[in-house]
Symmetry: C3
Subunit: 182 residues, 3 copies
Amino acid sequence: MSALPPLTLILGGARSGKSRRAETLIAAVASGAAVPPVYIATSQCFDAEMAERIALHQQQRGAGWETVEEPLDLAGVLGRDFGGRPVLVDCLTLWLTNHLLADHDLEAESTALIAALQRCGGPVICVSNEVGLGIVPDNALARRFRDAAGRLNQAVAAVSQRVEFVAAGLPMVLKSPTLVSL
Amino acid sequence: MSALPPLTLILGGARSGKSRRAETLIAAVASGAAVPPVYIATSQCFDAEMAERIALHQQQRGAGWETVEEPLDLAGVLGRDFGGRPVLVDCLTLWLTNHLLADHDLEAESTALIAALQRCGGPVICVSNEVGLGIVPDNALARRFRDAAGRLNQAVAAVSQRVEFVAAGLPMVLKSPTLVSL
Amino acid sequence: MSALPPLTLILGGARSGKSRRAETLIAAVASGAAVPPVYIATSQCFDAEMAERIALHQQQRGAGWETVEEPLDLAGVLGRDFGGRPVLVDCLTLWLTNHLLADHDLEAESTALIAALQRCGGPVICVSNEVGLGIVPDNALARRFRDAAGRLNQAVAAVSQRVEFVAAGLPMVLKSPTLVSL
């Protein structure tokens, strides 16, 4: 790829290398640019486990990024003018979890996010977890979250020009302008 | 694709858009036909959560389908003469769950289903969940179900001419007459 | 494929057919050879469920393999001279589980394994589970294992020349010398 499309979705499991893949795509286009790419972190630091995970991600990403922390109002942040700099949203699944914990309407929040993504011009890369490939969870809350996460991934994929599924650090391209259907 | 092969398998996670993908494949060949495609629903309506899910699927599917509800005897239904109309089985995982809850022999039921699929002529599209990509479940019943579901998916894939894996509403083709191995 | 590269990784879920796929790749190059391929089994037989699973795998594999059982010291076994015979390691996830249960340092063990894989010359095929595509597990130990398993898969994929993701017995190629990026 020589340039990023307006919207890209990187899907994958836990520790699949999806954040790293997104950073690689951005680094490829951002190198040599005068202004840094933007990292929008949706994680909230509740405990030591989460703090360690956040620190590891920051270390992997390296310097040269502007970081914006926003656990809930992604649509608001995406409305800012980033002057055409590439934006990485990491990740949609934590953002959805934050709204679940705050007892917000997940469908309404998702709809507002999709609208903001379509308005913002990009280039934006969203990272998101695929969480629906295990056994049906025992508790109803987990099932409700799984449904909402799956619906959100479908909706973001539908408005994205490029979608990848990452496993073991390697991308499978699900959607791209040059992909031929078989 | 200009025509459906005798047997197609659509695999995917929860809320991955696999049912919708199957409906799209059928709509593409069924449009303009004088007779409606057949929808075989295997779900059983135990509670409000399930009722809501069934209603949502019906609404997405729209009119123009003949619906057959059959939670257990899929082999029997597939033995009927549908006159060449496309048939959508949604889904194999719920059918297997129903047999598990009824304490039936999952291997014997799966073998009988495969035989019926091979006899029926098609075109049939089976939708099924991939459930083996999470952490090993704590309880033995869930592990037994996971094994049976994985074996069933393998067996159905082996007799299908086309197999797709759907994520975020987008298909990856695992098997098709035109697919070149790399 | 006419020959196996030095290192191949076969990823997949439970009962996805990943072991069978690895055996097929080895059988294709080993047929007609005077010496048998090597099967390195990492499973430990704790209970009846595991014994049944091991027996089933042995039966599917058939005769004509030399079997080495090694639950922990994979690096040591890979240091032996197998005279260029193809080696199947089945599987990395059970090996990691064994080290978790023995309270070993998973990161140090993984680093040593990667070094041994790179030294050994091959051809070696490693089978491994993808376990990060379900809902976040409730307990911290499962989350720690999921993280370690994902990191190991990424590291093995990075040093492998060929990587496949298997679902329903069918491979998707994630990495190969002939794969064109889209």
